[in-house]
């Protein structure tokens, strides 16, 4: 791959004796949507945490446009243009919807403050489908709306790379379609996206490429159709019942 936006080389994470992520290698090209798949506990979220700086690496490197970002604190990685959502939605409970979005805009990759940040937040709320709800307190939001707020906050710093950790999980079919359309529009804006996802419909319609993990190791890489028919992948998901 020429000039990958993000590349992982030998990325490893140990918790005591347990190897959660074992020598992961893969690249993500600009404007690409890459799905990170695998059964529960296979190390997908941990990999995402290593990229975003939430956890320190045991060994290996993560590079952004060729320069290493592994070892940097989360805030520095965010300022370089990598932004994420969380597996369990994390919002700021003491703030209203708009302030939650502004929180993403003030300190990140592209910084805004004052009226600028306010207007930008309104614009993003419109975009994620929460137009006019800026003054609402969080406790009045539905589940998908909390996900929308989190996405808007993630977008507020105008990131180049988006890490979405099961952002589509738990949505009903209608909401899922809305979500898929939204993510597509983000790619069309020129963002590079890594998805940790279980929802197969979303993977098929969104991902250019998939990386499949099992027990911390990469077991397959390719287009969604390729990896989903890979024997190794099927065994990882369904178990070794024919062995």
């Amino acid at each position: 791959m020429v000039n990958p936006v993000l590349s992982l080389r030998g990325v490893t994470k140990r918790f005591g004796g347990l190897v959660a992520v074992n020598a992961m290698d893969f690249d993500v090209a600009e404007r690409e949507v890459v799905g990170l798949l695998g059964p529960n506990g296979s190390g997908k979220s941990t990999t995402l945490n290593l990229v975003s700086g939430a956890l320190p690496l045991t060994s290996g490197t993560v590079s952004l446009w060729g320069s290493p970002i592994s070892g940097l604190p989360a805030q520095t990685i965010n300022r370089k243009g990598v932004s994420r959502t969380f597996q369990l939605v994390r919002l700021l409970p003491s703030m209203n919807v708009r302030e939650n979005v502004i929180a993403g805009a003030v300190f990140g990759h592209r910084r805004r403050w004052g009226h600028d940040a306010h207007d930008h937040a309104e614009h993003l709320l419109d975009k994620v489908g929460l137009g006019g709800k800026g003054d609402m307190p969080l406790r009045q939001l539905t589940y998908i709306d909390t996900k929308r707020v989190e996405l808007a906050r993630t977008l507020a710093s105008d990131p180049k790379v988006l890490l979405l950790d099961e952002w589509l999980a738990g949505l009903n079919p209608t909401e899922l379609q809305i979500g898929i359309t939204l993510i597509k529009s983000l790619r069309d804006e020129g963002r590079t996206i890594i998805l940790v996802e279980h929802v197969m419909d979303a993977i098929r319609s969104l991902c250019d490429r998939c990386v499949v993990m099992a027990a911390g190791t990469k077991i397959a890489e390719g287009t969604p159709t390729q990896v989903l028919s890979d024997k190794e992948v099927i065994r990882a998901y369904l178990g070794d019942d024919d062995a």
Binding site: P73, Q75, L92, I102, A103, F107
Partner: protein, 311 residues
């Protein structure tokens, strides 16, 4: 940055309140002024404490350490330097000390911070007495012409500066960053906030203010002794007053300091033999009956009123 009409109105009201407070020494030069000094002192300390601890939820018990350092700055320098410069130096030393402590401990979880700050007063006191002992320093006497009214005005000025700083921080990126950190530190870091730096920067404020308060009050104590300058009780008084008022609002500590000062005054004048006992009971009453402080109580009342109107 632009000021709205409400902002301007609030500023004018605050300036007027300050002016009225500044007139106190002209009205009474004794008992009430003495209480005024106490209130001004605790307002300054508790408000600056809450500026850091309110948003971050770190309970700092380091007030006595910084305060003691401030009294020592005045005690050591009063014969050599003008008073105003000592207050400034105390603020500077307090800020630097706070930065060092913050760098070392603010990455730790809350309870370690509590205990380290609690021990800090003792540590600083031992270090100072050790140096004093090994340099053959005699007792420190602060004999100045600064009287009670002068100390009061100094404290009032400092309190005003603290409120202004707090107000400005509340409108700044730093203040906003701290609210985010207080809500969710992980989100803060992933939103590009340098959490450690923001916390250390803000911790320098109560450090500097407590040291300046100590420097201002040193002439009132006349004789600077380590065991009196670093008395740990001060740290706890500041915490309880700030929490009684409510640390989530800039004016919260103020509404805690005033009733608490009068309560302590009533207790110590009426129960001279059971002061400690009654203070302890008062403490428990606050913890059990007013968990959110007066600010929380007000919030609840407003909420109930709103609910009634809505229904």
């Amino acid at each position: 940055m632009s000021l709205t009409k409400t902002d301007i109105r609030n500023l004018i009201l605050a300036a007027a309140a300050l002016a009225i407070c500044a007139l106190l020494p002209l009205g009474d030069n004794g008992y009430w002024l003495g209480l005024g000094v106490t209130i001004a002192m605790f307002t300054t300390l508790a408000t600056s404490w809450a500026l850091f601890s309110g948003p971050t939820h770190y309970i700092s018990l380091a007030t006595a350490a910084f305060f003691g350092v401030g009294t020592y700055v005045t005690g050591l320098g009063i014969d050599a330097l003008p008073f105003w410069s000592l207050v400034a130096i105390a603020g500077l030393i307090g800020a630097v000390l706070a930065a060092l402590v913050g760098l070392a401990t603010l990455r730790l979880s809350g309870v370690y911070f509590v205990i380290f700050t609690l021990g800090l007063a003792e540590l600083v006191r031992q270090s100072i007495t050790w140096v004093q002992n090994n340099t053959g320093q005699k007792g420190l006497y602060v004999l100045t012409d600064l009287d009670e009214a002068g100390i009061y005005w100094w404290l009032l000025g400092l309190a005003a500066a603290v409120f202004l700083t707090g107000w400005l921080i509340g409108r700044s990126r730093l203040g906003f960053a701290l609210r985010v950190i207080g809500d969710d530190e992980t989100v803060a870091a992933h939103s590009g906030i340098n959490t450690a730096r923001a916390k250390v920067l803000l911790f320098m404020l109560p450090g500097a203010v407590a040291a300046m308060t100590g420097a201002i009050l040193a002439p009132r104590y006349v004789y600077i002794e380590p065991s009196l300058a670093f008395a740990p009780i001060l740290s706890f008084q500041v915490v309880i007053m700030a929490l009684l008022g409510g640390a989530s609002r800039l004016w919260g500590p103020l509404v805690g300091v005033i009733p608490f000062t009068f309560l302590l005054e009533a207790v110590s004048s009426n129960f001279p033999n059971q002061t400690t006992l009654v203070i302890g009971i008062a403490f428990l009453v606050i913890v059990y009956l007013l968990p959110g402080g007066f600010v929380g109580l007000l919030g609840k009342i407003l909420h109930r009123l709103n609910a009634r109107e809505g229904a």
